[in-house]
């Protein structure tokens, strides 16, 4: 039983990454109607920016948490301005192909210069060590990841669902022309939204840098699972993606305990089941 508690907690930690990433995807899909396949590459860039900040500029993890999402977010906004915006109104497939291509290019460039095994990034001194919870030894850093990402997820949900800015955003997705008539700069808002989604991915990258290797393919390995999470949660649903992110982390954790061989397929089995029973995802509405 003790082992089970430990696995549940470990699942929640992985769930935090799924939640942060799928949240970014959901925001981008919900507002821009773009299936952002570059998300994994942008997550990877977040981790690399943190690495560069520390090793070239001596800038600590704490500042990286703020700076990396901003820097990668700006990169994302440039992508949106120069490329993605021309795809508005076209079939989803165009956005998917473009972002997939961007992901391959970005990963290829990083791989060319940094190889595939990655670079080490130490856990910040303040979060080193761990606590004995009785049923497991919890590294403090992992506890921090769960709490921090939970706060970020809820803040993002609040921003989009409960504030005036969020209301504009949602309105702009429903009817851009009408919102523009009210004097709101819709294209700029869309750019900022893409920047926000990308920033969330970069933030997850910084969070994961001390746990995983800072590797060019760290995002490629994760993004497929995250897409499954989004599909299960319902494309574009903010709360849905947060909850499914955490829930699937837990389910995956339990699989690692009961039948480890299936741990990297269980998410996809669930995705198939959900698609069969409820094709719009657990919280999604029919289009």
């Amino acid at each position: 039983m003790q082992a089970l508690y430990a696995q549940l907690l470990v699942g929640l930690i992985n769930g935090s990454f799924y939640a942060l990433l799928s949240l970014g995807l959901a925001v981008i899909f919900g507002m821009l109607n773009i299936i952002n396949f570059a998300h994994g590459a942008l997550y990877m860039m977040g981790a690399f920016v943190a690495y560069f900040l520390l090793n070239l500029g001596g800038i600590s993890y704490w500042w990286a948490l703020l700076l990396a999402p901003v820097i990668v977010g700006i990169f994302g906004m440039i992508l949106e301005r120069t490329m993605l915006q021309w795809l508005t109104g076209l079939d989803h497939l165009y956005g998917l192909l473009l972002t997939f291509g961007i992901a391959l290019i970005v990963q290829g460039v990083f791989q060319n210069y940094f190889g595939s095994s990655g670079l080490p990034y130490a856990i910040p001194d303040q979060l080193k060590g761990g606590m004995n919870l009785g049923f497991m030894f919890l590294p403090i850093y992992r506890g921090w990841v769960v709490i921090f990402s939970l706060v970020v997820c809820i803040a993002t949900w609040f921003l989009i669902e409960k504030t005036r800015l969020g209301a504009y955003l949602r309105a702009a997705t429903e009817n851009p022309t009408l919102v523009r008539a009210f004097g709101i700069n819709v294209p700029r808002m869309i750019t900022l939204t893409y920047g926000l989604g990308v920033g969330l991915a970069a933030l997850a990258g910084v969070l994961s840098a001390p746990i995983n290797q800072v590797r060019p393919l760290m995002g490629a390995d994760l993004i497929i699972v995250v897409f499954a999470v989004v599909v299960i949660g319902g494309m574009g649903s903010i709360m849905g993606s947060i909850i499914t992110g955490f829930a699937l982390g837990v389910i995956e954790g339990l699989t690692k305990y009961f039948y480890p061989e299936a741990s990297n397929t269980v998410v996809f089995v669930l995705m198939v089941l959900v698609l069969l029973v409820k094709p719009t995802g657990l919280t999604g509405k029919a289009a």
């Binding site: 082992a3 430990a6 696995q7 470990v10 699942g11 930690i13 992985n14 791989q111 060319n112 210069y113 940094f114 190889g115 595939s116 095994s117 990655g118 670079l119 080490p120 130490a122 856990i123 060590g129 761990g130 497991m136 030894f137 590294p139 850093y141 992992r142 746990i211 995983n212 290797q213 590797r215 393919l217 760290m218 390995d221 994760l222 954790g253 690692k256 305990y257 480890p260 061989e261 741990s263 990297n264």
Partner: protein, 406 residues
């Protein structure tokens, strides 16, 4: 009539000459470097192995003697089906003579069959499974650098003798992990130890915390990592995070490469014991080779033992071809020649290729340096001991290779 007889004779003569060219030994060689070019094993083999093969061709000096040697490379993506498809195409269409490197035991064993069927030459340096020269040995195959038997009988044995008598395995769930766990378990039990449990994880797992918790709960003295590349670095890094070293349990990195240590960082990796058959900083020759190699790599990486094995293997292959006086394009014949000649090169020293295809050379026990002891970006290892080739690798008497029964 006279004229037509003349042209008939001329035609026949031409046909005979051209057939003669096709069947005689020529001086054309095509080498295929098949590897994981972008995944978790790309740094230990990958593009670096192609560079090593190119260096071997340059250093052989055969080009000046009228030989034409080409190298092509392919990415098997760690998938046996892709690996065999590339190998088939290379033999059928590209007229490749020899395939080198091929990390990932699953792919390596599959490709082994294709090469045997096509009568090519196979110098494997990247894969670990001892089956390549054991139950699944082939007259076309030479296995360089290392294998699971060697890893078990060096690192594994040293740890059991030092008191690590209970083991829990974290095993990559494919041919390689299974072979390494099998060979190491045999050593553990033979030396009076006990395997108390294990868990099989999928290849390329980013998060090991669940598995590490199970290992922690097992209370085994040694947690044996029967995995490689990115899986090993993640296991070691995350084990440190979960305080596994402090709880009295010891990690056994059964297979660790130079690039893995670089990726983990000395802070976390320090004190790890493991075995390799090549390290760049062994002597003047290895340093000279490695410096040249590093200058050709985009990220300035030093060579791993796998890449060194590709170099040494290709050098030996070309020596055999030169001794034959030409390329017979007959895998079995070339490999027999390779086995009949003792191996000697700057990187692995003197050695031999056994009848089952296993290359025998010394193995070295290393310990990862403390950050304070490291003097440069690739200064990572301290030599702890040397195991001679005949002690490190499968003795012929234990080998189940059908070739030995002849």
């Amino acid at each position: 009539m006279k004229k037509s007889i003349a042209s008939f004779l001329l035609g026949t003569a031409l046909a005979v000459t051209s057939a003669g060219i096709a069947f005689a030994d020529d001086k054309i060689v095509k080498i295929g470097a098949l590897s994981d070019q972008s995944g978790l094993y790309a740094d230990l083999g990958g593009p670096g192995s192609t560079v090593a093969a190119q260096m071997a061709v340059e250093d052989s000096g055969l080009a000046a003697k009228g030989w034409k040697i080409d190298i092509i490379s392919g990415d098997h993506q760690n998938k046996p089906d892709i690996g065999t498809a590339i190998a088939r195409q290379w033999f059928d269409v590209d007229k490749v003579d020899i395939i080198v490197d091929v990390p990932n035991s699953g792919v390596a064993l599959a490709v082994n069959n294709v090469i045997k069927e096509k009568n090519g030459v196979y110098i494997n340096s990247g894969a670990a499974t001892s089956d390549l020269t054991n139950a699944q040995c082939s007259p076309n195959t030479v296995h360089w650098t290392y294998d699971t038997y060697m890893l078990a009988h060096t690192t594994g044995q040293a740890l059991v003798k030092a008191g690590g008598d209970t083991w829990f395995f974290l095993t990559a769930d494919y041919a390689f992990g299974a072979a390494l766990e099998r060979d190491t378990s045999a050593v553990v039990t033979a030396n009076g130890g006990k395997v108390v449990g294990g868990v099989k994880h999928p290849l390329n797992t980013p998060d090991f915390s669940s598995f590490l918790l199970q290992a922690q709960a097992s209370k085994a003295k040694i947690i044996g990592l029967a995995n490689a590349g990115g899986d090993t670095t993640n296991s070691i890094k995350q084990a440190a995070e979960f305080g596994i070293g402090k709880g009295g349990q010891k990690l056994a990195a059964l297979l660790l490469f130079l690039t893995d240590v670089k990726a983990i960082g000395l802070e976390t990796a320090q004190g790890l014991n493991f075995t390799e058959t090549f390290y760049w900083d062994m002597n003047d020759q290895t340093r000279a080779f490695s410096k040249k190699f590093s200058e050709k790599m985009k990220n300035g990486a030093m060579p791993t033992m796998v890449q060194a094995g590709v170099y040494a293997g290709v050098r030996h292959y070309l020596k055999a071809l030169e001794a034959l006086g030409g390329n017979p394009h007959d895998g079995i014949k070339v490999v027999e020649k390779m086995k009949s000649m003792p191996t000697e090169d700057d990187l692995f020293g003197k050695g031999e290729i056994q009848p089952n295809g296993r290359t025998i050379h010394s193995a070295y026990l290393f310990e990862v340096k403390k950050p304070s002891e490291s003097k440069g970006p690739w200064d990572f290892y301290k030599l702890v001991g040397t195991v001679s080739g005949d002690q490190a690798f499968t003795p012929l008497s234990e080998s189940k290779c059908p070739l030995l029964k002849k």
